[in-house]
């Protein structure tokens, strides 16, 4: 093949619509060409000015970005986070991790709502969709991909801070409804020998909210509803196997109803927020140690009060208190599997700060009380953790700022220590160098995860026929991390950030699962049998880097590119096995285009490298490769177009997820999703004086 032929072939490969008009319909290149062709033709619309990256490792998602991307569930935010990886078995509960700040098994990133930590974790699963909030209620999301202190808690594994929207003055009613359809239905061929299983709809997801804002306060009441159908064949067969049918009982599906109340005052006495909500989720969560979905009624209730008497000032007093109840109730199952688990968490924190523009110090004290209620004879079912935190901030030298934060936690006879140092140097107006270093030492009991409670006597796994091999002793975990960032601002509306990452993780407790496969003659069902080995004292090091480029080449166009790569070295075998379940490289390219006011286009392309799941190798062999012990490198293109009508009271959004229609699976036992089409309608009626 001569060079000319090779060039021609490469050209046709990139522009497939020249080769086949059919592929044109599914060609992102054609869409990009058309958009690119139209770009210079107008300057009517405008994307919001770029936010300057305030700190290294911190990303801010604005309400406009969230809306225009077509986020309809909180878990959709993970697709917008730079460097974070998320996987899911059922595409409803997502396991996420910040770049290298933990392993996927350890869902320890912190979740905050308007300054209050909210614990949605239950037995090792942190399902963000349980939060009784809808993405359209958010004003912004601040994403911390580096360790840091947030509201008196040290988040060594990163954090997501959700800030809710402030409603406009007067009375307002808002509503949103979205539903989608995944392709691949049998269509008319249902009646032929070409018939294939039906693919259920996606959703619906809905929000209703009423608010009243007057004087210095506002009150919001909302209810969120979400449905998710088990349409993937693998999941369906496993779920149907455990599902106990009864007269009037619906077929297996996830269904969430979540009312919430938010009251805020902001005046001379400071800013204070009350957030309360309750979520009821008919769940089909995949439980790794058993290798199957267990129908469960997941109840989550939270009430929290927090505030600051002098917000934004260097001297002041802040506080927060929260009470959370998580209940995993029984649903009828074939094998009578029930978690029989309730966890009550009570927390409080008080923090005072003193300072001026050059120097500041803060000191705070607080506690967390955790109590487990279960029918199993758990030894010492309650834990009381008290903590002290301190922070010192120095801005004495122009162009240089320094911050030290530390937390000491006391749990019975044990203590933990976590500290973060942040240094920011701005040698010139167009560049900033930032370093974040963190060290954490925490005893195993502080995490009080499922293995801790299993050791204490929670015998659900034994009752379910599984006997996990636990280590003789659980070790304390230590982590040392460093992030060195060079932020460049070479031209207006151009930001480039280059970051180097280093992580040393020691004393980890890791789960090693081994899944075998069984096909059952009943209903063609199938399921896994799992054996679990828990290893403690595991260690590994990670190093890598990331690059982030944000620019606004035209007033109406914003483009962002991101690349993260992390490599493991000098590690234990268990660490290597678990780390291989995460992609080493993640890349994304996003564009937001607002050609005219009240109309926007959004595109995000993502790429992640393959992952290996050694524990699924036996199942892969036994199922004749029906299951794979790996996931291939994944590409995904999401598109959305939004138009506002009626003076912005009505918004309509159409979105196409996985526009390339490439089979998308992030977990060997997980569902495979294909191209999915969504429509979302949002109504915003402000019947008072103010308008958004």
């Amino acid at each position: 093949m001569d060079a000319r032929t090779g060039r021609r072939k490469a050209f046709r490969r990139f522009f497939p619509f020249l080769r086949s008009p059919l592929s044109a319909l599914r060609s992102p290149q054609l869409a990009l060409l058309l958009i690119a062709g139209l770009l210079p033709l107008t300057a009517w619309g405008q994307v919001e000015p770029l936010l300057a990256p305030g700190r290294a490792g911190v990303q801010v998602l604005t309400a406009a970005e969230i809306e225009r991307a077509g986020a309809r569930r909180l878990s959709d935010l993970f697709a917008l986070l730079d460097g974070w990886h998320a996987y899911s078995v059922d595409e409803y509960t997502w396991y996420a991790t910040a770049p290298g700040l933990g392993l996927m098994q350890q869902q320890e990133w912190m979740l905050l709502v308007d300054g209050q930590p909210v614990d949605v974790e239950a037995l090792g699963v942190q399902n963000i969709n349980l939060l009784p909030l809808h993405p359209l209620q958010l004003d912004s999301v601040v994403v911390y991909s580096v360790p840091g202190m947030h509201e008196g808690r040290m988040a060594a594994s990163g954090a997501l801070h959700l800030y809710t929207r402030k409603p406009p003055r007067g009375a307002t009613a808002r509503g949103s409804f979205s539903a989608g359809n995944e392709v691949g239905d049998p269509g008319p061929f249902l009646y032929t020998d070409r018939a294939t299983p039906n693919i259920d709809r996606v959703g619906p997801d809905a929000l209703g909210e009423a608010s009243l804002a007057m004087g210095e306060g506002d009150l919001r009441a909302s209810v969120k509803h979400s449905e998710h159908h088990v349409t993937d064949q693998q999941l369906r067969q496993r779920a149907y196997y455990q599902y106990e049918w009864a007269p009037g009982r619906r077929r297996p599906r996830l269904r969430l109803d979540a009312p919430a109340l938010l009251l805020r005052t902001d005046g001379a006495l400071g800013r204070h927020t009350l957030f309360a909500g309750h979520s009821r989720l008919e769940d089909l969560r995949f439980f790794d140690p058993l290798g199957l979905e267990i129908p469960t009624l997941h109840l989550f209730s939270h009430a929290g009060l927090g505030g600051d008497f002098a917000p934004g000032r260097p001297t002041g007093l802040g506080y927060r208190a929260g009470y959370t109840v998580t209940n995993l109730d029984e649903e009828p199952t074939r094998d009578h599997l029930a978690y029989d688990w309730r966890e009550d968490r009570l927390s409080g924190h008080l923090e005072g700060r003193l300072g001026n523009r050059f120097i500041g110090a803060a000191l705070g004290f607080g506690f967390d009380r955790v109590e487990v209620r279960t029918g199993y004879p758990v030894e010492e079912p309650s834990l009381f953790l008290s903590h002290a935190v301190g922070r010192l901030t120095l801005n004495a030298v122009r162009g240089w700022s320094q911050q030290f934060s530390a937390q000491v936690t006391h749990l019975e006879a044990e203590r933990s220590f976590k500290g973060v140092m942040e240094t920011t140097v701005r040698p010139t107006a167009w560049q900033t160098i930032a370093f974040t270093g963190a060290y954490a030492w925490e005893p195993f009991a502080e995490r009080h995860d499922q293995w801790y409670w299993t050791r204490q006597g929670y015998a659900f796994l034994t009752d379910a026929g599984s006997s996990p091999a636990l280590p003789g002793r659980f070790t304390a975990r230590r982590s040392l991390t460093g992030d060195l960032a060079w932020m460049l601002h070479p031209a207006p509306e151009v930001w480039l950030t280059l970051t180097g990452h280093f992580r040393q993780l020691q004393g980890l407790t890791l789960d090693l699962y081994r899944y075998t496969y069984t096909a059952l003659p009943v209903l063609g069902a199938e399921h896994f049998n799992a054996t679990t080995q828990v290893r403690s004292g595991q260690a590994g090091r990670l190093a890598g880097g990331s690059a982030n480029l944000r620019l606004r080449p035209l007033p109406q166009l914003e483009v962002q590119a991101h690349l993260t790569h992390l490599q493991a070295f000098t590690h234990d075998a268990a660490f290597r096995t678990v780390w291989a379940q995460q992609p080493a490289t993640l890349a994304s390219l996003s564009a937001r285009y607002v050609p005219v006011p009240r109309f926007s286009l959004f595109a995000r392309f993502r790429y992640v490298t393959s992952t290996d799941w050694q524990g699924f190798e036996p199942a892969a062999a036994q199922s004749a490769r029906r299951f794979r012990a790996s996931t291939p490198a994944l590409t995904r293109l999401d598109l959305a177009a939004q138009k506002a009508f009626w003076g912005e009271r009505l918004r309509a959004l159409v979105a196409v997820r996985n526009a390339l229609d490439a089979p998308f699976r992030t977990h060997p036992a997980g569902s495979v999703s294909r191209l999915t089409f969504f429509v979302q309608l949002e109504v915003d009626l402000n019947v008072g004086r103010g308008r958004r």
């Binding site: 008009p21 033709l41 269509g187 008319p188 009646y191 294939t196 050609p595 159409v654």
Partner: protein, 195 residues
Amino acid sequence: MLQRRTTLLLLPLLLLAAGAARGQGAPAPFETLTVSVGQSFNVNRGELFHDFWRFRYGWEGEFSTPFYFGYIELGGVLHRYANTVGTVPDFDALQLYAGWGPMLRLGQVQAQAGFRIGNHYMAFAEPSNTGRRNESELLLGLLARVQVRLVGGLGLHFSGTYTYTFTFEELRLLFATVGLSYELDSPRWLKGFLR
């Protein structure tokens, strides 16, 4: 053959994009409203679909209005299909869609090209053994249309539409449509709503 025909639909889209985007003869967005009705015919053969069903007739109705860089449309097409094999039922199909594309006005002649996205709803005359009577799937389409103004706002249009339905066994159908359209100034309340 089908691919060659759809290329003929794709080409005007690309050619019109540049011309229409320059705003040649284009009215302001939402300034006018065009109501169209027409009869459509399935003109391609040889797909797997045609081994089981034959096209009987189809009607199309839509609203379109000038939009940024072209026009947008909302519409629906009703198609009726009869079985050619006794083991499968007759069915009716309703395509509900939204579309956008560039538009070019040259005197009394108006040329449009664009794409459509929507839902392909199928209602079957008999239940299957699973009891399902209907199916619904994502639809994408490409369109090329020529419209000639006859008198006043009344016009005659001819169009070709290639539709692709994302069923497991893909449905690829090519339609020709002939119909009448009427263009009127948009009511003020409608312009206010749409803008």
